[in-house]
Amino acid sequence: MENTPEKFAHIKGWGIDADPKNDPTYPMKNRLNLEQTGYSWDRPTLQAETVEVLHSNERPNLTAVFGTALPPSGLSGMIRRWAFNYSENEYRHWLPLIIADRVNVVEGVLDDFMHGKIPNIFSEKGYPAEWKHSRGTLIAKMAGVAIVSTAAILLLSGKGKKKKRKTWLKPIE
């Protein structure tokens, strides 16, 4: 069947951007082959380094402009600094960064406490919205949490262990 504009008249704009020259880099890249001249462009004014900024060791310097949010600090910061000894090619770069992120969460809670703030995890997790729009899911989720934590408490207390062992062993006795 012919793919004529008439056939697709019901679709506004059909075919108006069709381009037979669409090759693997065209038109995403306006191929000027500038890279062949290396790291040689006129750099923008360099931002002053007022806070500690880690940079990938796959480049020689900081970029001309960078974010200054949350410089590395505490234990998570130490892990992040270590991670930046390794290139983006290495797990030794990325895995420690994820671990640092998790450590940072604990640091965040401690920091809240130090500022006299008790984080309202129920609202931070947006559970009020889930309560409103998908109550069943939230109840199931909370029930799951309750079951797991009760089981954990029972298992950790000797009392729970004994009780469970009794019931399990009974049929065999």
Partner: protein
């Protein structure tokens, strides 16, 4: 000022934070009037992007008013209402000069494999984002674009990411007139990719997701076929083969990325254990359902380590893979035209307007796909 504050996986809140400051002569400060939550934010929200520091403000899709400019800013002035591309780009490096504004080499010191993105972890430059009342906008001569007279702010905010990304997804598909295009993911990006596929002359457009409400929307908005991979089929690849005369699609677009559902092994290793850089289910399906010699276009975002995909099939089928963060600035002139001419109507995607103060609920609604959510927009108090 009020700003979103990331506290850990799936924990965010709104807090008072210090006002952003000019740190570089090409900086501007923007008073945000609208910002969005994006599928990309979910990778951060779920704690899957390395070097996401507690205290970060997310938000890479925003518009607002210029309230302060550095000494080298000449292209915009105080009082201008601007839309700000999500990529931070210098305009001078070799990559920017060739139109690769998402791959700038002068804005993200932390990683060479990713450009800089507002509010997108330190792996993307360590900038705070626009889910706040004010935000620092570097390279203000390059990114911020004055919102054209008469353009609805809801359309403008979607031009910062959703429209260019959906458009580039279709563009990278190298779609020729009559091609069959399959789009995995009926989120804002997939819906826009399906819509834009027609602009390049697609002959047939098929979208696949797991949520009927999104598929229903896509069917109407993107004027395409829509199928649910949970209820309409057992095996999506086989299904696509069957409905394409056993050939596969000419072009398959991955508009899902790292949070993909649909394959337990991928979900456990990619999303729960983080042994891969996210779950690559949709990409796996894309590679296997495209025709021999076909093109896979990836805009779904994955992390910086590895993913399990059938690369042997890419080789044996002779596939072309094209992928990138959208180069928003490159595409804006064309897309502003399309929006002003009514060819694309972005604001129809917006289902939720959420006060900035209720951001935690906003994230939960968008992440868990509650209340038939497609695209949520956050409105700061000063813009209400």
């Amino acid at each position: 000022m009020l700003a979103m504050n990331y506290r850990g996986p799936k924990r965010v809140r709104i807090d008072e934070k210090p006002m952003p400051e000019i740190r570089h002569p090409e900086d501007a400060i923007v008073r945000v009037t609208r910002s969005c939550i994006c599928g990309s934010d979910l990778h951060l929200y779920n704690g899957n992007v390395p070097d996401t520091r507690v205290g970060t403000t997310f938000g890479h899709e925003f518009i607002g008013e210029i309230v302060e400019v550095g000494s080298e800013v000449t292209k915009v002035k105080i009082g201008d209402m601007v839309l700000v591309p999500f990529n931070i780009s210098c305009g001078k490096c070799h990559f920017c000069r060739q139109g690769l504004f998402g791959n700038c080499h002068e804005s993200n010191p932390e990683a060479t494999a990713v450009g800089a993105i507002y509010g997108y972890s330190h792996t993307a430059g360590g900038y705070n984002g626009g889910q706040a009342e004010y935000v620092r906008v570097p390279y203000a001569n390059v990114g911020p674009t004055v919102i054209p007279e008469g353009m609805d702010p809801d359309d403008a905010v979607l031009l910062t990411d959703v429209v260019p990304t959906g458009y580039q997804a279709a563009e990278m598909g190298g779609i020729q007139k009559g091609d069959t295009v399959v789009v995995f993911g009926a989120g804002p990006i997939g819906i826009m990719a399906a819509k834009c596929s027609w602009l390049f002359g697609a002959g047939r457009v098929i979208i696949i997701d797991q949520y009927d409400y999104r598929l229903e929307f896509a069917k109407n908005y993107s004027q395409c076929e829509a199928y649910n991979f949970k209820t309409d089929m057992d095996d999506p690849v086989l299904f696509i083969k069957k409905i394409t005369d056993w050939m596969g699609a000419d072009v398959v677009i991955d508009a899902v990325g790292a949070e993909a559902a649909g394959d337990a092994m991928q979900t456990i290793t990619g999303r729960k254990l983080l042994l891969q850089a996210g779950s690559a289910t949709a990409l796996h399906w894309a590679i296997n359902s495209v025709k021999k010699g076909g093109i896979v276009s990836i805009v779904g975002v994955y992390g910086p380590t590895d993913n399990l995909v059938p690369i042997g099939n890419v080789l044996n089928k002779g596939l072309t893979i094209r992928a990138n963060q959208a180069s928003v600035k490159r595409l804006l002139p064309r897309l502003i035209e399309h929006v002003l001419n009514g060819v694309i109507e972005p604001k129809k995607l917006i289902t939720h307007r959420i006060p900035l103060e209720e951001i935690a609920d906003g994230y939960r609604i968008f992440s868990a796909k509650l209340d038939n959510c497609i695209k949520p927009v956050l409105i700061p108090p000063s813009a209400r």
